[in-house]
Structures are given as structure tokens and as C-alpha cells.
């Protein structure tokens, strides 16, 4: 590792006192859902840690995850970029351009091999030889393979980097995939969300600095501390859901009173993420608090699996977007009921005709035994 200054050294050099530092560590421990006794461990690890090098790669992205990171409050982006880590490559904000930028990335891969952290933002197109995303004439895939397979760990920041996100949504015009699929040999942790929440990204980094390893993950390699619980179970509108108090129309009385948004298409019951507790932009709010349903943006392939966003259930394949499963079901049921009535009448007619036919040749009366 390069010669470097520790995090607290850096903080002290600009007059950040220990109280604030401990507060930061406590916030991280809380986000990571660790017991409070870990505060000391986090603090001492950060005090000792030399700044690890981080590179942030952008592929088929919208830079929303980078912008989200800029809004980070604990630590602030200045702390993360200048004090906690050495942020050597990030196209959106780095000083150098062109060859100089390329050289900076190359140097990290060469000199920090196996030690640096890579963050990936955006999907990676595999169709047509990867021509849908090139940087300095090289395909995203080539760069991703070169960088991520040499990194100690790769953080997939946001839906696009995780599973291809929006770019991969049907019909996936560019054959886009997430980093895990593009570079299977990389050690990846997935931070779903569109964008990811910087509180979680920071916590993953702190966990890595403290324990030398990535936090525990679920089946999608998402950290459990952030993706282990469904939104619906943490939602402040949940009491209204249980009580059956629903917003029925945008802006109605229920909406103004903060009632549940289930009938407006909220995907909170089908989405895991820590939005209600971590919130966004320094804890200011989150989508459901602002009156709109959750899109389930941290769910796997959410663009296709959680849409249509104003309906309860996905579209039924083969039917128009405006026909819901309920309408189809009720329609078919009604048709069958009607058909049955018709059949019943026809059977009754047949029965009478046969009865007559049976009566004619033989005078015996057909009668059931009972």
C-alpha cells in the first residue's frame, strides 16, 4: 500500500475533534446494524488504517450514483474522497482527462493490484462486441475485466451495475448486464437501488476498512444490513395499511393524512431496502414519505419485475398494458358462468327431447329409483 495518512490523522489535521469522529463511527455502526460495542473497533480500525485506493468506473450509467455519493452526509463526500480513501479515478469529478486519466487508472491497477477497491456504476453492454460503450477506444467489458479482476473488491453501485438495471430492461437493446455477470471472477458486492443510497455505500466501505472484509450478504450478494427487510415492514404508513386506510386518489383526504399508498401501486410490500430508516439526503425524506409509492428500486431486475408502477401486479403476458390480471380473471370467470348457463339450458332441452323419445316406443315410464 502507498504511503498514506490515516483517517483520523487527516481529520485532525483539519481540526475535526474526536467527538465528531466517534459520532461518525456510531452512525456507521448503526447503519451496519452492528451492536454498539463495535463503535470502538470501528474507531480504532479507522485510526490505524492507511487510506486505501478507490477507483470509480462509469459505464452505461446516468451518473445518478455518483451524484448520490456527492450528497453523502456521513461521511461527507469531502471526507470520503480526501480523508477516508484515496479516490484516484472517477470520470465525473477527477482533475485529469484523456491520457492522464487513463494513466491514473493504469497505475492503480499496476501498483495496487489486489488491494484497491473498485466501484462500478452503470451496465456493461455485451452485444455487438461491446460497441455501445467505449472509453478511450476500449470497451466497457475490456476495462471492467482489467480493473475489477485485479481489485480486492468491487462494489456495484446501483441497479445498472448490479443486474443491468434500466439499460437491461426489455428489450435490452445493447445486451447489457451487471458487473457480476460481465466479470464473474471479480469479488462483487451489489448495492441495488436507483440510485444506491450513499449511507449504505459508506457503511460498506467502513465495514471493509474495519474488518478487512465485506459485510454479510443475501442471495444476490447485497449486504443484509441494508437489504434484509422489506420496506413495508418499516414504513411509517404501515399502521394505515393494517387498518385498511388507503389513499384512493392523488391528493384526497387520505393522501393528505399520510394514509397507505398500496392502492396507488406502492411496491413496498415487494421490496427490500432500508429507505424508511436510512432515508435520503441526510435523513430528510424518502419516496413514500413524499407521497409516491415505492417502485421497489432495490429489487432484482426491478424495471421489468416491479412495473407497471401504478398497478398492483405485473402485466399478464400476451394482453395489452391496460388490461389487468383481475379484469382478465373476472372476464373469463363470467364467460364460463354464462357458458354454463347456456349449457344447462341445452341439457335441459336434450333431457326433455330424450324423455319424449323414450316414452314413444315404450310405454314404460323412465323413473329414477329413489
Amino acid at each position: 500500500m502507498l504511503q498514506g495518512q490515516s483517517f483520523t490523522g487527516a481529520l485532525q489535521s483539519r481540526g475535526v475533534d474526536r467527538r465528531r469522529f466517534i459520532k461518525f463511527c456510531s452512525a456507521m455502526v448503526a447503519t451496519l446494524a452492528l451492536p454498539p460495542r463495535y463503535v470502538a473497533q470501528v474507531a480504532s480500525a479507522l485510526e490505524k488504517a492507511k487510506k486505501p485506493v478507490l477507483v470509480w468506473l462509469q459505464f452505461q450509467d446516468c451518473a445518478g450514483n455518483s451524484e448520490s455519493m456527492l450528497r453523502s452526509s456521513h461521511p461527507t463526500v469531502a471526507e470520503a474522497v480526501l480523508d477516508l480513501l484515496s479516490w484516484e479515478y472517477h470520470e465525473l469529478v477527477m482533475a485529469g482527462a484523456g491520457h492522464q486519466a487513463e494513466a491514473a487508472l493504469e497505475r492503480v491497477v499496476r501498483e495496487e493490484k489486489g488491494k484497491f477497491i473498485a466501484v462500478v456504476e452503470g451496465a456493461i453492454p455485451l452485444a455487438d462486441g461491446g460497441v455501445y460503450c467505449t472509453v478511450a477506444g476500449k470497451t466497457a467489458l475490456e476495462i471492467a475485466r482489467h480493473v475489477c479482476s485485479n481489485a480486492a473488491a468491487t462494489i456495484a453501485a446501483g441497479a445498472c451495475a448490479w443486474d443491468g438495471g434500466l439499460v437491461r430492461a426489455n428489450p435490452n437493446p445493447t445486451g447489457a448486464v451487471g458487473i457480476e455477470e460481465a466479470v464473474p471472477q471479480a469479488k462483487v458486492i451489489n448495492l441495488g437501488g436507483c440510485p444506491q443510497n450513499p449511507a449504505n455505500t459508506a457503511a460498506v466501505l467502513v465495514h471493509y476498512l474495519t474488518f478487512g472484509e465485506l459485510p454479510a450478504v443475501d442471495q444476490y450478494n447485497r449486504p443484509l444490513f441494508a437489504y434484509g427487510r422489506i420496506i413495508h415492514d418499516q414504513c411509517e404508513r404501515r399502521a394505515h395499511y393494517d387498518a385498511g386506510r388507503f389513499t384512493q386518489e392523488w391528493g384526497d383526504e387520505g393522501h393528505r393524512k399520510g394514509w397507505c399508498l398500496y392502492k396507488m401501486g406502492c411496491k413496498g410490500p415487494q421490496a427490500t431496502f432500508n429507505c424508511p430508516s436510512a432515508r435520503w439526503n441526510d435523513g430528510t425524506s424518502w419516496p413514500v414519505k413524499a407521497g409516491h409509492g415505492c417502485l421497489g428500486c432495490a429489487s432484482h431486475r426491478f424495471w421489468d419485475t416491479r412495473s407497471p408502477f401504478y398497478e398492483r401486479l405485473p402485466d399478464v403476458p400476451g394482453f395489452g398494458v391496460d388490461v389487468t390480471a383481475g379484469q382478465i380473471g373476472l372476464g373469463v370467470t363470467a364467460a364460463v358462468a354464462a357458458g354454463t348457463v347456456v349449457h344447462g339450458i341445452a341439457s335441459a332441452v336434450r333431457d326433455r327431447m330424450r324423455t319424449r323419445a323414450a316414452i314413444q316406443p315404450s310405454p314404460a315410464k323412465p323413473k329414477a329409483k329413489e
Binding site: L2, Q3, Q5, A10, S13, R14, Q58, Q60, D61, C62, A63, G64, N65, E67, S68, R71, S72, T76, L82, S86, E88, E91, L92, V93, M94, A95, A97, G98, H99, E102, A103, A104, V131, Y132, C133, T134, V135, A136, G137, E142, L166, A169, P173, T174, W250, H255, R256, G258, W280, N281, T284, W286, V288, A290, G291, H292, L295, F309, Y310, D322
Partner: protein
């Protein structure tokens, strides 16, 4: 004679590649190429138009919100929906906030390092820096100790040999002209602006649930329920107070930090009022409706076109005259690539014909970019804050005129100086100043409505798709931070049939058209002097002055 390639162009959004021919120390020709394509116009097809904004917003996370706004407007236009007064105001607050936010980040974090040599700040005298700061502004953070602490932090960073984002700059380049004190001041404000943007954008968090990618638009209005007596309502008196505070802090920051810094930097680079000149054609759709969006006369920033630098005449704008070429873009049109298409007839058929990666150079005689080439009446246009300010200025918008004249006065410059690299920077700052004021006013308006009991935020008449005609088409527009933005949507059987976005950076950064006409980027680079072809900071200066966003441009 040399071919310079700048790829990646950094400190922008997205994947931009500039190739420039340099002859006799100046650029003789230039090609601008976007090297990433996602196909969002194709992905939108067949989906519910009411949620198009959710998808379209992801065109860009830097100018987040603007595509959402434009998208709901396009669908509202198609369906004939007018939004309630409160929704109109909330949208203006959100969009105005976005402008201020984006402009501040652009100047400090994306552009400043083209003018500021961070390493020179180490040589500055903190005492003199304090004097300089106090001479240009009464912003309180200006003491000697304050600048000393910043300098120490910078020294520690340099001593650690881990320069982080600053490790690969063009430090020591002869084109840097600021004295050490101004560099230190700029570094301090770079850090302050980071804090500022994080705090200020909480306006979006209140009104949008989060930033980036706000989540409260609706076709027909907004989802931010208002109620003066409900603590659970998204907008209530307490929230209004909070918004007001943030808005007035922004006003202060722009007035006391951003504007003085821009003027100070500009005063050290007077040459750049004569460089990076442009096409001379400026387009603004106008934005921030003060009444019905259907009425172009009620747009706070006016709509219009300026041709050939003639500020004496503002031409009317008609959306029917917008077309896009793909002659030099990696797409096919079904009836040949020589003719331009109006977005209602628009096609997005990707067909890459460039060199097989890895490659050294693009085939600039053929197709060489993922951007299309938008034209107005077959003419290339520049769009952006400069276009908006010029159209407003030429239309006689008093507030804009006053602000522009004040800035020009301080710089001893004529309005024609605005047709330049620095002109774009100045116009952007002036616009931020203007909009920071108005965000405050709009928050007050919203607060007044709340107090009067006007709580309507959504017009539900057309929410149910069964109320829609079988076919409909609409045009949605906005002036995004980077310029004129429009979405054209066609709806058939309650689904999106075709969706076309013509985006500010597409206007500016697009490749040549069928007639060989260059767009704004390619034109503005001509004649730019290049001191060191290995470190072409001059190219970055002019390109950055447009605030490129390539994710937007290609989508």
C-alpha cells in the same frame, strides 16, 4: 500538425470523446463523439405513458428531474391535461432548485480545475487570501485562519502522496493565470460548494423524496399532498419554512460566493471572452410557466430564437421546425440517412459502423457518434444558459437585463463578449442568481396557497387510461440546466408507441449534419490555441463551458 484525442473527457457527465486537428498551435478542425448508447427511447416503447417519466428521468442523474418533468408534460400535452396551480409551482421550485444546484456543481466541481491550479494554492499567503476574499464579497468564511486551515489540509493531502481526485491534473500548465491567493480561495470554495450542494438539495428530498431521481411526479400533477393541519402531509407549514430557509441560504451562497468567484476568475482570463465562440444561433424553448403551460407568453424565461448574433431580433419558435439528422451518427433511418426527421416521425435504429474496439481514431468522414444532430429549420443551434440569457436579454426581460448589465459592467465588457467560453460561464452564474431568488418567491407562493386552503395538487381527470383517446401525441418541453429539452410522445392503445427525446447536449455536441454543418462544440473549438498538445487544457475549457452531459445527449 497533429490529431489530439481527449477520451475520456472528464469532469462532465458521460462518455465524450473529442478529436481535434491542431495546426500551427491552434485547432483547425474538431469532432465531437458520444461513445455510449443505452436505447432508452426503445425501452420506453410499449409501456404505460403515466410512468414514462420514471424511466425517462434515468436518462440522467446529474440533471435529474428535468427529463421527468419534460416527460409528464409531453404526456399531459398528449392527453390534454392541465395541472393544478400548486403542481405548477412545485415543479418550478424543483426545476429552479435543479438549475442552481447544477450550476454551482458545474462551476466548482466540474469546471473550476480548468482555471484553478490546486498546487499553486500551497504557495498562497492565507492573510492575503483573506484580503482578496473580503475585497470581493462579504461572505463570512474569509478569515486568515480559515484559509490557513484549508491550506494545511491541502498540504497534508500532498504530503500523503495520495492526491486522490487531484492526482492527475494539468498542474503547472502555462495556461493557468490565477495568482496563488485566488487558487487558495477557489479550493476553499470548492469544498464549501460540496457542502452547499448537499444541504441545498434537501429541497428535492422534501418535494421529491430523494435526490437524484425524485419520485413525486404524476401525469396531472404531483404526489406531494398538502395540508396546513396535517403533520403527515408532505407539504405543511413546517416544511414550507424549511424550504424557505434552504432557498434563502442558496440565494446568499450564489450572491456572495458563486457570482464573485466567477467574476474574479473571469477577470484573470480576459482572452477567453474572445475564445470558444460559437455558431451565433441561440435557441430557448422558455420555461418556468407562470400560468398555463400552453401559453408561451406566460413563461418566466422567454421562448425564442436568436440568429447570427443579432440581439435586435428574437424569432418565434415552432416545434414543427425541429428535426434530427443521423448522417454522421451510428443509426439508420428507414428511408436513408441524408434527410432529417421530425421527432414525431423519429426513429432510433442503432447501427454501429465505427472502428472495432480497441481503436485509436474514429472514422470522422463517416459516422462517428451516438448523438444525432438536431437542427432548427436546418440550422445548428446553441442551447443552454447563454441562449436563455440572450433570448431573455433580447426580449427585454428586465430582471435579466439588470443582472447581465451588472456583471458586464464589473468586467468592463460588452454584451457581444458573451458569445464566448467565459460568456457561457457568466450566463450560467447569472441564471443561478436569478433562479435562486425566484425559488424563494415560488416557495412563498406555495406557502400562501397552503395557508389559503388551496390544496389541489393533482388533476385526476385523465388518470384512468379508459378516458384516453385511442391515439394521441404530445410535445413536452423544459429548459434544462444545459438547455432546450423536449420529449415527443406518441400514444396508441394506452401504450407508448414512439418516444423521442431531443436533448440539450444533443444540440450542442452532435456531429455534423448531411450538409456538413458543425454543431456548437465542433464550431466553438475552431481556432482555440493549444499550448501543449499533450495537455490540451484549452479544449477542456471550451467544452466544459457548455457543461456537457452525454448520458442526456445519447440516452
Amino acid at each position: 500538425m497533429a490529431r489530439i484525442v481527449v477520451d475520456p473527457v472528464t469532469r462532465i457527465e458521460g462518455h465524450l470523446r473529442i478529436e481535434a486537428q491542431v495546426d500551427g498551435g491552434a485547432v483547425s478542425d474538431a469532432w465531437s463523439s458520444g461513445t455510449m448508447f443505452r436505447g432508452i427511447e426503445l425501452i420506453l416503447r410499449g409501456r404505460d405513458p403515466r410512468e414514462a417519466w420514471i424511466w425517462a428521468q434515468r436518462i440522467c442523474g446529474v440533471c435529474t428531474t428535468v427529463h421527468a418533468l419534460t416527460s409528464v408534460r409531453a404526456v399531459e400535452d398528449a392527453l390534454g391535461v392541465e395541472v393544478p396551480e400548486n403542481a405548477r409551482i412545485i415543479r418550478n421550485i424543483i426545476a429552479g432548485t435543479q438549475h442552481v444546484q447544477d450550476h454551482v456543481i458545474h462551476f466548482y466541481h466540474l469546471h473550476a480545475l480548468d482555471w484553478v491550479d490546486v498546487t499553486l494554492a500551497l504557495k498562497a499567503d492565507p492573510g492575503k487570501t483573506s484580503q482578496l476574499a473580503e475585497s470581493i464579497s462579504d461572505w463570512p468564511k474569509s478569515s486568515k485562519n480559515y484559509f490557513k486551515a484549508i491550506q494545511d489540509r491541502l498540504k497534508a493531502l500532498v504530503a500523503s502522496k495520495q492526491l486522490s481526485l487531484f492526482s492527475s491534473g494539468y498542474w503547472g500548465h502555462p495556461a493557468y493565470h490565477l495568482p496563488p491567493e485566488a487558487n487558495l480561495l477557489a479550493v476553499a470554495h470548492y469544498l464549501e460548494a460540496l457542502e452547499f450542494q448537499r444541504e441545498f438539495i434537501r429541497i428535492h428530498a422534501v418535494l421529491g423524496g430523494k435526490n437524484p431521481h425524485l419520485q413525486t411526479y404524476l401525469v396531472g400533477g404531483m404526489s406531494t399532498a398538502m395540508d396546513p393541519n396535517e403533520p403527515q402531509a408532505t407539504i405543511n407549514p413546517e416544511r414550507i419554512t424549511f424550504l424557505s430557509e434552504l432557498a434563502s441560504k442558496a440565494q446568499e451562497f450564489v450572491d456572495k460566493v458563486y457570482i464573485p468567484d466567477v467574476l474574479a476568475v473571469a477577470s484573470f482570463y480576459p482572452d477567453w471572452f474572445g475564445r470558444g465562440e460559437n455558431l451565433g444561433n441561440f435557441l430557448s424553448y422558455g420555461c418556468f410557466p407562470q400560468g398555463s403551460i400552453k401559453d408561451p407568453t406566460r413563461l418566466f424565461l422567454p421562448r425564442g430564437i436568436i440568429m447570427n448574433r443579432d440581439l435586435s431580433k428574437v424569432h418565434p419558435f415552432d416545434p414543427a421546425n425541429v428535426t434530427e439528422y443521423v448522417t454522421h451518427s451510428w443509426y439508420n433511418y428507414s428511408d436513408g440517412d441524408q434527410k432529417a426527421k421530425h421527432p414525431f416521425e423519429g426513429e432510433t435504429n442503432p447501427k454501429y459502423t465505427g472502428p472495432k474496439p480497441p481503436f485509436e481514431h474514429l472514422e470522422v468522414e463517416q459516422k462517428y457518434s451516438w448523438l444525432k444532430s438536431p437542427r432548427y429549420q436546418d440550422q445548428p443551434m446553441e442551447v443552454g444558459p447563454l441562449s436563455r440569457m440572450l433570448v431573455a436579454y433580447a426580449s427585454g426581460h428586465q430582471e435579466v437585463k439588470d443582472l447581465v448589465n451588472a456583471a458586464l459592467g464589473k468586467l468592463n465588457a460588452q454584451p457581444t463578449a458573451l458569445f464566448s467560453t467565459l460568456g457561457r460561464i457568466a450566463a450560467r452564474a447569472i441564471e443561478a442568481q436569478l433562479l435562486a431568488r425566484h425559488v424563494s418567491k415560488w416557495v412563498d407562493e406555495l406557502g400562501a396557497n397552503l395557508a389559503h386552503g388551496d390544496l389541489r395538487i393533482h388533476n385526476g381527470e385523465k388518470w384512468d387510461p379508459d378516458t384516453w383517446p385511442r391515439e394521441a401525441k404530445g410535445f413536452g418541453f423544459h429548459e434544462a440546466p444545459r438547455g432546450a429539452l423536449a420529449h415527443w410522445v406518441q400514444i396508441e392503445d394506452k401504450k407508448i408507441k414512439n418516444y423521442q427525446c431531443v436533448v440539450p447536449t444533443t444540440w450542442n455536441a452532435g456531429p455534423r449534419d448531411a450538409n456538413g454543418k458543425r454543431g456548437a462544440y465542433e464550431t466553438s473549438l475552431l481556432k482555440t490555441p493549444i499550448a501543449d498538445p499533450e495537455r490540451p487544457v484549452e479544449i477542456l475549457r471550451t467544452i466544459h463551458s457548455f457543461d456537457p452531459c452525454l448520458a442526456c445527449a445519447v440516452h
